[in-house]
């Protein structure tokens, strides 16, 4: 059943049995919860629910906003990650901390901050953002882009310095080296960052609800839909949306792990 990495690990040792047991309990717990969700509905019910106009609309809003977030996160995040990975400057630690802050802070707090900045007397109050799609995108970007930046930065940092130096001595400018060496070598880190950012944006609830409210057909994303339908007693609709999210997340992760394993340029 187990394939050992090292010959000195024994399958019949007490420790081996212990860790296998703990892993089994953990796996069973997660699987059971997901199974409960899966068995809550039938395929026919699921399809009927998904086909309702309000739910379709929330799916489209979620897809649109999360894809926009990924694109914006790439445009801003890659340069920021590269800067942090390759330059030493004063204030670097502060910038670094600031970027990680949304990962740690509660999304509600992030949402409130955006609400204040863009609402009433805020610094950006002349942008019409509150209760709009733009608001959703800003809220999701704020919360989700740090994942891409972190992941890309670690990928850039782990490239062997001599390889980059070699590129320079071979006549490549820093920009050429960035495009032809750094980016390809950081590819896996960037892709995993994209997936984490996208998943975080799709699953975003607190900050989005705070900034964009829960207006059906206008600012109702899938997660907001799950919450609203569950509150209003339409549990079937919530379950359908949840299943959709979980299955797509599962599929994405599997595809990524497969790609990551077989296309690793280093191995």
């Amino acid at each position: 059943m187990f394939e050992q990495r090292f010959h000195f690990m024994h399958q019949n040792s007490f420790f081996h049995i212990l860790i296998s047991l703990i892993a089994g309990i953990y796996f069973g717990f997660i699987a059971a919860i997901i199974a409960c969700l899966l068995t809550e509905t039938s395929l026919g019910e699921f399809i009927d629910n998904i086909k309702s106009p309000e739910i379709l609309s929330s799916i489209i809003i979620s897809l649109e906003t999360s894809i926009a977030v990924v694109i914006l996160a790439l445009i801003f995040g890659i340069p920021v990650a590269y800067l942090l990975a390759t330059r030493r400057f004063t204030g670097r630690i502060i910038l670094d901390t600031l970027i990680d802050l949304p990962i740690i802070s509660p999304p509600l707090v992030c949402g409130l901050a955006i609400l204040i900045a863009f609402g009433g007397h805020g610094l950006f109050s002349h942008f019409d953002v509150i209760f709009t799609i733009k608001g959703i995108i800003i809220a999701q970007l704020f919360v989700a882009s740090p994942f891409l930046i972190r992941s890309a930065r670690i990928a850039f940092e782990s490239i062997d310095q001599d390889i980059l130096t070699a590129a320079r001595t071979l006549g490549a400018s820093e920009f050429y080296t960035f495009r032809k060496v750094s980016l390809p070598l950081a590819r896996n880190g960037i892709i995993s960052g994209i997936i984490m950012t996208w998943a975080r944006a799709l699953g975003e609830f607190g900050a989005t609800a705070m900034v964009a409210g829960c207006i059906p057909y206008k600012t109702e994303t899938m997660t907001i839909g799950i919450y609203m339908h569950a509150l209003s007693g339409n549990l079937d609709a919530s379950v359908a949306l949840s299943l959709l999210l979980i299955v797509s997340a599962f599929a994405t992760l599997i595809v990524f792990k497969y790609l990551g394993r077989y296309n690793d340029p280093i191995k």
Binding site: D162, T165, A166, A167, T169, L170, G171, S173, V181, P265
Partner: protein, 355 residues
């Protein structure tokens, strides 16, 4: 061709280069020899523009290149760990600098020629990470040579290879360098490598060039005590010239514990000098036998231990120690052991004098 004037470089508190001067001629293989941490890599990095010098000037063909960025210097660099691009195959690795310099046309021929030059034709589509160390270093060499650079810098390119491959590649590299007439600065801490490869050698010490010269000069007639010690002249003694025999062409040097006869060099009586004798130039015998050697010192064996393929015998000569290298067989035939009385003999021409 390449000239370094008064280069200084410090990292934080540590002064690595203190007023380093070098002058490399066109087409020569110039070896930088020095112990670990003496600033060899730093020197190459400054020439290539990868590190900025604190002070001093760098000239290539008479023009100052201090402010030229690394990718415009046209100086090739070969790294100790090869630094190949893992996401590109062998062909693409070699092609990289042609593309980076926007020389799109005729790439195919140039890449092929470079790969042939290093004996890697047919390796085009291989993944460089799956090649042996020697093959990887050949790829790195082809990659650096493909644009036919003015000169090439090599930082201990063979030190990660096993002895057999290293020897072969060293020979091939020397041939290639001569054939192409490539100006090369080669960094190593390996004396044998320096000796075999260098047209000239610079020994670095303390962030400066201690001495520059042909291998012959550096290894047999060093002018500096540091260099003499570095290249393994074990026996170095302070002394004073006592008599000059112009007719015989010899002179006498008196050290604290013994007298030496050496070949006459232009100097005056009373001059303080250092006399050096290589351990392998000394003949060791148990009983006095007639030889033509002019120098003869009696002593007692302190210890005997293996030193590579030879045996090293440490002999006490009235307070000083003299190292003698003899073959394993000779130690056995002479039945040498600790405490034995022995006589050391060597020729006047075997004594090298440093003023």
């Amino acid at each position: 061709m390449i000239q370094l004037n008064d280069i200084c470089k410090s990292f934080k508190e540590t002064e690595v280069l203190r007023s380093l001067n070098l002058n490399v001629k066109k087409g020569e293989m110039f070896v930088l020899l020095g112990s670990s941490g003496c600033g060899k890599t730093t020197t190459l990095s400054i020439i290539a523009g990868l590190i900025r010098e604190d002070r001093g000037d760098i000239y290539v063909d008479g023009s100052r290149i201090n402010d030229v960025p690394p990718h415009k210097r046209g100086i090739g660099f070969v790294f100790q760990n090869y630094a190949l691009f893992p996401h590109l195959n062998v062909y693409e690795n070699v092609e990289f600098s042609l593309k980076a310099r926007h020389k799109q046309k005729n790439n195919r021929n140039e890449v092929k020629r470079a790969l042939e030059l290093v004996g890697l034709d047919g390796f085009d589509n291989k993944n460089p990470m799956k090649l042996s160390g020697g093959e990887q270093q050949r790829v790195a060499l082809a990659r650096a040579l493909v644009t036919e650079p003015e000169c090439i810098l090599m930082d201990e390119p063979l030190s990660n290879l096993d002895a057999m491959v290293r020897e072969r590649l060293r020979y091939e590299m020397k041939q290639l360098q001569k054939d192409v007439g490539l100006t090369t600065i080669y960094v190593t801490h390996d004396q044998v490598e320096a000796m075999m490869l260098g047209d000239r050698i610079a020994v670095l010490n303390n962030g400066q060039t201690e001495e520059v010269g042909t291998p012959e000069k550096i290894f047999y007639k060093p002018q500096r005590e540091f260099v003499a010690r570095f290249i393994g002249m074990k026996n170095i003694f302070n002394g004073k010239i006592t008599t000059l025999d112009e007719e015989g062409g010899v002179m006498q040097i008196s050290t604290e514990n013994f007298e030496l006869t050496t070949v006459l060099i232009p100097s005056g009586e009373g001059t303080h000098v250092k006399a050096c004798v290589r351990p392998e130039e000394i003949i060791l015998m148990k009983s006095d036998q007639k030889t033509s050697a002019r120098n003869e010192i009696a002593g007692r064996i302190i210890t005997i231990f293996p030193n590579g393929p030879l045996m090293r015998v440490l002999v006490d000569v009235g307070g000083d120690e003299i190292s003698v290298d003899i073959t394993r067989l000779a130690t056995r035939d002479l039945e040498l052991k600790k405490g034995d009385k022995v006589i050391l003999k060597f020729k006047a021409t075997s004594v090298h004098v440093i003023m």
